[in-house]
Symmetry: D2
Subunit: 404 residues, 4 copies
């Protein structure tokens, strides 16, 4: 029996051609694996059949939407994960999930290799292969587009010559990756970072400039996880799907950024993540209410590191795992409700409450009932300022002055 | 001759009463010092005269608007300073400037003390006194409102009894601090963090919900500092003033947050900072274009620390000074132009360009002309993944599996 | 019935006098609580009786040595906790344990207050009171030495006048705090940081300058905890006690440092911690063998923060707790053996091995059997250097040169 | 005229054979560049002649000892640079200096390439090539040992066949890199990390176990740089040379560590750095005396990052440069004297003094003259503990207890 390779199959041109290409180049039988991470578009059964039509010896479809929401998006939400403060890691979150299924399918089916359709200058190749290495270190990773120089032009010719069932009649100008957490769009004219995005790029979000009434929504969180929207219980996946609609209809979630890729170059990226940005805004504010100052300050550094690790393809690394237990521990009190106004491209928190609140009205109020003992402040300030005062005395002794 | 105390004088009830109160409590002659940091409102000369009418032996007015913009706001902009990711440090930035003038005026006029009108439960008392301690360690800091329990009710009685020229006919429900970088508002009903802010709170920004045409603006930066708006040269102060109008007219700059005070409590704060948020958004994106990845990643941690230090009243500390030289060094290439769309409460960057850009079209493009050598990726990934692969082998030897 | 206060009782002059002093000043009945944290010296039953003789209505002794080793020293070891890279937190670790027993004893016995014998310029007052506040926020903390100005001279007079059974015939020049983790010594001549410590200061360690044969010892760790010494199973407490002897006999564990106190001043401190420094040296090297690079690098920052928090009295804070779960997670593979040579004041690791080792001989060797694929390095270096290369091109375009 | 390549030439077997090998493989004329970084051993003129005898068209010798000490070792000292808390970056510091001279020599002599003798599994290949990329991005880097698979066995055969003037009669078991900052030794039996180092490995340090009298030395620092030893002015190079002797004679400076290489593997390394460890010990303690607490705490994180960057070959990166300006700024007050006792493998600070000292005797003393106002402590502690107290109230409301 020929050796086998499990290919992450999207149903598009590159991976459809990749089936034959891999077989030709390696002699291995190709198993196609299509994962539903909420990317919508074609029916998964259609995609499965296409893989077989393109020469796969076997084609597997996995509905991983709940797994994606539960095990990948919720940790990202707890981490308020925004790479470069902006990008909610849309593709970076789906890659380790897909890699995990690639590896477990390969092991289950006795394959010695896995494959993906990424090029050699992006982040996703690293994310796939690093994840596979961390889960199944003896599997070989193949990347036909990169390793066998399978360019788009060659793919079109190959598909035509082999009568592959792929309609590529009119070349779309956009290169897109999407899942339930968001959408990434690349296209030629965006490669000049001075060019503004155009409305045509977006599908998850409506034009924020169109006048419409604001939407009010209340999200209930339980230990950092959304568990109800406007009082109705939801699963994590349902929360994301519903907020994509509510926030997307208000034009929320668009991101336009010059990004630092792991492979050392800067690229210009446009994303949409209506639910992602809305949930993070709400979650951060609930943390402001329920997490102690010093823990909150430290967690912000952990969040940056977490986001960088996940962006850099190190989802299954030891550091990422230990950061996760830290973050999980911080969420024990992050329960309560956040009310937001969604309008014109912006999700604005207008109220927050929690039975775990650390906001103490009696200490905070300037009204009657104030229990804060102001006389303590003097001693606090004196000791708080003491290092500055001591070094000021040194500086003055050295001839320093206020102007210095 | 009596000893002297220099009082930071705002012209409002508390500090007006504070003049007599300080004299009564300490026997010291009171010098009133009013600083113009762009807070607008009353004419500074009117304020000066009122101080004298309230019993000050001397009253000094200093126009510090350019100094404030140049020496306080620009460092904050270079640091993209947002405490808790949101608050642009409006009051936190003016306090050290005022304290510096308090200290230098006290030294110039032979005073042995300075005074401010803060209560004992806020951050500003710490900021004033810590700054004075760091600049003039032998000056005494007095806080009549806190130390002599000068409550608002007592102040009103005192003002009436002494015929002080203060019109406090109708008690405003708002407690406000403002300067050219923004405005902070506190009021009773906001003390419940579930209550939404109302339109009446805001004066720097128009209602973002009113339909209007978007405004496009291009900001030119030179080494991190805005030097032109729509091609017309501006000083830092002019940039801030102009953007307050342009962005404020679009409802930009509102912040509603539960905040961790230095004195250990959480408070709910509402701010406006139209120019602040707009400039930071533009500046961050220009940094994305011009600063190397590793430096940019590290700088984000420095920014958080800088913001916390300034929030915590440590403007004149040794650590703050050394972080400033780090930040200044990062700005050497942060020159170029950023185009923004201002609309409906949101400042959106739509284009960025720079002669110092690190974005390399030839490396980034997927089009012809691509110079990125994709064959290098394989070796990179192999070594990048090696630690994960080695530890995976250990885990598997210990009986781990993909599901683990 | 009078209200009660539980006093942390050492048996020494200050707290013995404190019993009567507290009663006089507050009218409260005093319960003395003596905790055995391995400080050795007097018999705990003698101390208990003295408390009663000094007027305590009740005197409780708790042997907390195993609790101290298990719940306080082992977390410190996992954190390689050295404040300012040097000080193993001797007193800082015992304070939260004592505070915990103060609080639980107070609650059990219906007391409304706790008390300690610290002065107002040290760290320990903060550690006691912050821990009590975090465990039993409604208890009142009293500090007779600080709050009632109970100076040493007054204490001696009081003890004589009241015939307290305290022999203070000859004033010892040393102020000492000690427990099984180490010993802190303060004394007048050390207050000049230019003066060298003298041999007389030390009791846990012998003079390292005396020639003697080296001692070899092998410590077995299981998930970060010492579980055997030279192959013989030990509890954490036994490990510490045995290593204090083995390492102390070789003069190991002395520390002489200018230290940054929490209350804003610098002080000069001399410590001994033979077992502490030896265990940390061994543990760090076992981590080098068994923890992945990126996790190890990040953990070093966590260790610093952990040490600062504990030094600063925040043992029971939310941040400390979340850092602990991070650290615990890192220890899952820190099992194995470390061989040390103990000699002349120095504990030197000479060998380490582990079934969880990440050291891969086949990858590391330069001999035959090398499995490292060197051809991968070129691609790695190319991409690793790419950001520097791109920015170098920018710099050169701007007229930069190698000399710049 | 043939193209030229400038080879970093050590005089040893690999680079001597590399001359011919490079010529054969690339057709380029080889220029040999030998840099004196204090490695001692052979006369540089002998090395220069050998390069010519081996076929170099030109051979250049540069005495870079002072440059190395001033521009590489002193920044490392200011950073207290110890990778993994232990390794003073001996080879990591010399590589960027050598790379800089490679690049400037290549440019001066019109070469298009540079070359080094490193293998493909170490850090030094990355350090050389990353530095060259950052300084002269258009130069090509060649590595004959790695890229042309020039193994040691092949090199011996080649040398014999070509009658190269290299005496390799008896293969030394040690692979060594050394410079004035220290010495790195690798050898077969050390590849088992359980094996102890043997005395024969060391040449910079005497056996610490031999009984001898202690040496006392006083080092004067000026802004972080050693400027006198025992009162006699020294240059940085002289300080390092003298302390290598003084500390080396006492067996100081040995390091034995399992190290995390940049290329993803762990290796076992043995180093000597008598002056390095001594200077860092002294410098750190002078910083303890002269740098404010918060700055000192932050600087420790900067030091780790600096050490990792330099270890990882990023000496000429933007982040490293900005960290340097931060570190330089911290050194403005690091002037004064440190007295050490050197004995039996250990450099122990016994005294420190400075006109820039922040140690304030009047605040620190427990004797008469104490100026610390202890009454301030109560207010400080109250506010310092407030976040813990507030969250304790929450926890208790949620049913928590002290045992929790």
């Amino acid at each position: 029996m020929a050796e086998r390779v499990v290919l992450a199959y999207s149903g598009g041109l590159d991976t459809s051609v990749g089936i034959g290409w891999l077989k030709d180049a390696t002699g291995k039988d190709v198993v196609a694996l299509a994962i539903d991470v909420g990317q919508e578009g074609e029916d998964m059964e259609v995609i499965r059949q296409r893989a077989l039509d393109c020469g796969a010896v076997e084609a597997v479809v996995i509905d991983a939407r709940d797994e994606f929401a539960n095990d990948y998006l919720m940790p990202a939400l707890k981490a308020n994960a925004l790479y470069q403060k902006r990008y909610p890691l849309v593709s970076a979150l789906s890659r380790p999930l897909i890699a995990k299924h690639l590896a477990s399918t390969a092991i289950a089916l006795g394959a010695d290799s896995v494959a993906h359709g990424c090029t050699g200058k992006g982040n996703d190749q690293v994310r796939f292969e690093a994840a596979v290495a961390a889960l199944a270190p003896d599997l070989i990773s193949l990347a036909p587009v990169r390793d066998f120089a399978l360019t788009r032009d060659k793919a079109i010719v190959y598909a035509a010559e082999h009568n592959l069932p792929i309609v590529q009649s009119k070349k779309s100008p956009y290169s897109i990756d999407q899942n339930v957490w968001g959408r990434a769009v690349e296209t030629g004219f965006l490669e000049d970072p001075w060019n503004a995005p155009i409305e045509d790029l977006y599908t998850y979000s409506q034009d924020p400039a169109i006048p419409r009434e604001a939407t009010e929504v209340t999200i209930t969180f339980t230990e950092g996880i959304p568990t109800a929207i406007d009082g109705k219980p939801v699963t994590p996946l349902e929360a994301v799907v519903q907020l994509n609609r509510l926030a997307g209809d208000q034009g929320i979630g668009r991101i336009d950024i010059v990004e630092d890729r792991l492979v050392g170059i800067k690229s210009r990226e446009v994303y949409e993540s209506p639910a992602g940005l809305t949930l993070i805004a709400a979650h951060e504010e609930l943390e402001n209410l329920t997490i102690e100052r010093d823990l909150a300050r430290y967690k912000r550094g952990v969040e940056s590191k977490w986001s960088e690790l996940v962006y850099d393809g190190l989802w299954f690394s030891g550091l990422k795992r230990s950061l996760d237990v830290f973050i999980d521990d911080t969420q024990r009190y992050v329960s309560g409700e956040v009310r937001l106004e969604l309008h014109a491209g912006k999700a604005t928190v207008t109220g927050r409450k929690s039975e775990q609140s650390l906001y103490d009205f009696d200490l905070a109020t300037y009204d009657t009932g104030d229990t804060f003992d102001q006389s303590q402040a003097k001693g606090f300030i004196e000791i708080w300022s003491l290092p500055s005062k001591i070094s000021a005395r040194r500086d003055h002794a050295a001839g320093g002055s206020i102007e210095a």
